[in-house]
């Protein structure tokens, strides 16, 4: 899939723009704060219906002097041309595909696959388990709408069950009805966990070889899904999950909150067998994050039969020259790539790119 042309107004600090892109490699360059990352964010928003920065609410995306933003892109997909429009006016969010208003944003997810990579992704290897769960959930949601529906249902069940546990602790809730929520939480939660385990299994090998490709040497990247509850070898997830809730009822009641399930699980990332979070160097963490994201892109391409758009923000930063060079070489042809960089010396060096200079919010094609 690729984005042929892109128009927008009122988005972040960008002036009204219209750009025609190369179907393979595009480069945005400009100083920090010029708006090149915002342009990447705009492309991401067009594909997913939200920002890749978790904290960015739609409200924050509107240019200060404007009341609304509009984005419009012409996509070429395996199934033909697609015209996508997104707009937000502080009250209402609208998305149209080929002129048809989409009632649910979830309709968008998976149709226009996209993978973004920025220095902030290092948090995958540095921060708590929440970012890694989010990584898995976003990747799998693009693959499977059922998974997205399960996530939404699980969130609802979790809220209900947490409230009931809290009420029981406070002497208001009826213990007799807890089982009804347990059964559903276990069924829905186990579907989520099983899908994550399967996907991590799929990602393991390609992320590993990506890592070797970029880092060189013999360090091996390991991925393992880590459950928040005990399970015997070969024990079905559903059974272990149900047992954990039964055995730990007193513990959960005292806490007044659900302590086990996919919302508490983690993805363990290791280098040469030791935890990357505790022992990895900055370079290793960065390389591992990049490898994971590239493996994600490859998985989406294979399973959706549609190559995702790659958005790479400041990939040359923090990576030494050699690793950065490896990375560009690693990118398979056939992906449409957008790279944003502030490093002037990289710009003249990169060949085969369609280049755009971004200057104080203006997008200027070279």
């Amino acid at each position: 899939m690729y984005l042929k042309s892109f128009k927008g107004s009122g988005f972040r600090n960008l002036q009204t723009f219209a750009a025609e892109f190369s179907e393979s490699k595009n480069l945005f360059y400009g100083s920090n704060g010029s708006g090149k990352t915002n342009l990447l964010e705009g492309i991401y928003y067009l594909c997913i219906g939200r920002s890749m920065r978790e904290s960015a609410e739609d409200e924050n995306l509107i240019r200060l002097s404007d009341d609304m933003f509009r984005l419009e892109g012409q996509m070429q997909t395996q199934r033909g041309e697609m015209m996508v429009e997104s707009a937000f006016n502080k009250v209402e969010k609208r998305c149209k595909i080929n002129g048809e208003l989409q009632l649910k944003l979830s309709e968008l997810i998976g149709r226009l696959p996209v993978v973004s990579l920025s220095p902030e992704d290092d948090e995958l290897c540095k921060d708590g388990p929440g970012v890694r769960r989010r990584f898995m959930d976003l990747a799998i949601s693009q693959l499977s709408r059922n998974y997205l529906a399960d996530l939404q249902e699980y969130r609802r069940l979790l809220h209900q069950r947490n409230r009931l546990l809290f009420d029981i602790r406070e002497g208001r809730g009826q213990v007799a009805s807890l089982e009804a929520w347990n059964q559903q939480l276990v069924a829905c939660g186990s579907r989520i966990i099983n899908k994550r385990i399967q996907v991590i299994d799929d990602l393991k090998e390609s992320a590993g070889s990506r890592y070797l490709g970029i880092a060189g040497g013999r360090e091996r990247l390991g991925l393992r899904y880590k459950l928040s509850f005990k399970s015997e070898p070969d024990e079905p997830v559903e059974q272990a999950f149900a047992k954990a809730l039964a055995v730990n009822y007193e513990f959960e009641r005292r806490r007044g909150i659900t302590m086990f399930g996919p919302h508490r699980d983690d993805l363990e990332i290791s280098i040469g067998g030791s935890s990357i979070r505790s022992f990895g160097s900055q370079g290793q963490q960065r390389t591992a994050a990049i490898s994971l994201k590239l493996a994600e892109a490859e998985m989406l391409a294979v399973q959706l039969k549609e190559k995702p758009i790659l958005l790479l923000d400041e990939i040359f930063a923090e990576l030494d020259r050699e690793r950065g060079g490896f990375l560009v070489d690693q990118l398979d042809p056939g992906y449409q790539v957008f790279i944003a960089t502030a490093k002037d010396q990289e710009v003249s060096k990169q060949e085969g790119f369609k280049k755009f200079r971004i200057e104080a919010g203006r997008v200027i094609a070279e």
Binding site: L157, Q160, R163, G173, Q174, E179, A180, W181, Q184
Partner: protein, 199 residues
């Protein structure tokens, strides 16, 4: 908010107490009523008053009724051995329209939802159990909504009823997920009834 008339303010406030009605819609309705003919407004006001005075819930199944027992409970031609449990009167009406079900109903008047402070004691569960003790029921169809709350309600009741040795079936998932029974079309509902599964 002040609309320049105390009566108008009050009308908007009252309308906003209705489910699913926000300030904007309440305003629109109030201004619509203001412009409508006196006859229409009076007919609406009278219907609401009469509704409260004359319509109540059936003592047995909690369907809406103008008498102690609703017309379905009074109908001697219906099958006493099969019960259908629904959340609201709307769901009962939707099932009745299919004309496939000839048994008795029980309206729970809600579903389990800890977030809304609704537990088993807030539903017509005790009344259901009392009915089941008195009548020889062979099968119960759980036709609660196919969402998290409806499912929890069905699972809770199933555990409660199982010791009585009554066959329990759940209405099949022929219904689109997330949709309420009230909105599903009649064909889907007919199929859902045919395809019910034992729990």
């Amino acid at each position: 908010m002040n609309y320049g008339s105390e009566i108008l303010n009050r009308t908007v406030d009252e309308l906003m107490k209705l489910p699913g009605i926000g300030r904007k819609t309440a305003q629109r309705l109030a201004f619509y009523l203001l412009k409508s003919s006196p006859d229409d407004a009076e007919a609406l006001a009278n219907a609401i008053l009469e509704l409260k005075q004359k319509v109540r819930f059936c003592k047995q199944c909690f369907n809406a009724s103008e008498q102690d027992l609703c017309n379905l409970c009074r109908d001697a031609g219906r099958d006493d051995s099969i019960f259908c449990v629904v959340e609201e009167v709307n769901d009962l009406l939707a099932l009745e329209k299919t004309a496939d079900f000839k048994g008795r109903y029980h309206v729970l008047q809600g579903h389990l939802s800890p977030l809304d402070g609704i537990g088993p004691d807030d539903l017509r569960v005790r009344e259901l159990m009392e009915r089941l003790e008195k009548i020889d029921v062979k099968e119960i169809i759980m036709a609660t909504n196919p969402n998290a709350e409806g499912e929890a309600t069905a699972l809770y009741l199933m555990k409660l009823i199982k010791p009585l040795g009554i066959k329990i079936t759940r209405i099949a998932r022929g219904l689109p997920v997330g949709s309420d029974l009230e909105f599903s079309d009649e064909v889907t509902l007919s199929r859902a009834l045919e395809g019910r599964q034992e729990m």
